[in-house]
């Protein structure tokens, strides 16, 4: 085993274990903190895949913004009654477990027998990726449409979310 493989296995196991904690903890703040560990594990995987830009963005966007927003929402909607006695799962838990187990085993069986791409291609210099991405995002034969549509999507999300979350005038709190 090479050192790279050891690092990969450690992060992969930690990532998946933390993910399991995310879906099984009843305390939602704990679940969100485990989510942070999972997200960080994914960022480490991006580093191993020579995509440092995406790793940094993963930390900045997911941990710095999305996880924080999740924790905020958990605390805003905390209900004393639901906190202690409430169940973590709904009544479909058995079915859900079965479905996700089937999906996983299907993927594992398919991928387990797959022998292509055993080794990393030797292209070591991926440092130009950020510039290439920037160029692709803003050029007409690249993704300029997707770039602007993403902006519109985020604008729509911002407007919609504020509209939904902001209390109406006639609503007495």
């Amino acid at each position: 085993m090479t050192p790279m493989q050891v690092i990969f296995i450690i992060t992969a196991v930690a990532t998946v274990l933390a993910a399991i904690m995310v879906v099984s903890r009843r305390n939602l703040v704990h679940a969100a903190l485990f989510l942070v560990i999972t997200l960080f594990g994914v960022a480490v995987n991006f580093i191993l895949l020579d995509a440092p830009f995406l790793a940094v963005v993963q930390v900045l966007v997911y941990i710095g913004a999305i996880a924080i927003l999740m924790i905020f929402a958990v605390m805003l909607t905390r209900n004393i009654q639901e906190d202690g006695a409430g169940e973590a799962f709904n009544k479909n838990v058995g079915m859900a477990g079965l479905v996700s187990f089937l999906v996983l085993s299907l993927l594992v069986v398919t991928l387990g027998g797959w022998s292509e791409f055993r080794a990393l291609p030797p292209v070591a210099n991926t440092s130009g990726a950020v510039e290439a991405l920037g160029l692709a995002l803003a050029s007409a034969d690249g993704y300029v449409l997707a770039f602007e549509v993403a902006s519109m999507l985020l604008l729509g999300a911002l407007v919609g979310a504020i509209f939904v979350a902001w209390p109406r005038k006639n609503e007495n709190e």
């Binding site: 805003l76 920037g134 803003a138 770039f147 602007e148 902006s151 985020l154 979350a165």
Partner: protein, 117 residues
């Protein structure tokens, strides 16, 4: 990859540096604890109820605007790095992107969602 090995080692060492005095402090600090000391510090009053405060929706709105801006700014960094090789269209695309971003702020402002009331 070597750079990131350095960062990895840095994360480990940076964790050990502040942990050391805390552990030392835990081991060698005085321990004269009693239940009174471990109570929640709330101006000497008895704590009533669980720790739970109904927070204003305002906190959520700020976090929300921050999230959207955060993601949009991340898009702009590669654009800025590639600026030298961009044609005029590319520059305008970026400026349009920022303009759309500003629209969201204008909406939030007009809605009064940015007021701290």
């Amino acid at each position: 990859m070597d750079n990131w090995l350095f960062i990895g080692i840095f994360i480990l060492v940076a964790g050990v540096f502040p942990a050391m005095p805390i552990i030392m402090f835990h081991l060698f600090g005085p321990k004269r604890s009693n239940p009174q000391k471990l109570e929640t510090y709330e101006c000497g009053m008895e704590t009533v109820g669980e720790t739970w405060v109904q927070f204003k929706v305002q906190y959520y709105i700020y976090a929300l605007v921050f999230l959207i801006f955060d993601v949009e700014i991340v898009f702009l960094y590669p654009w800025a790095v590639a600026f030298d090789s961009l044609p005029l269209l590319g520059v305008v695309a970026g400026v349009l992107f920022i303009f759309l971003l500003a629209d969201g702020l204008v909406y939030a402002w007009r809605k009064g969602a940015l007021e701290w009331s």
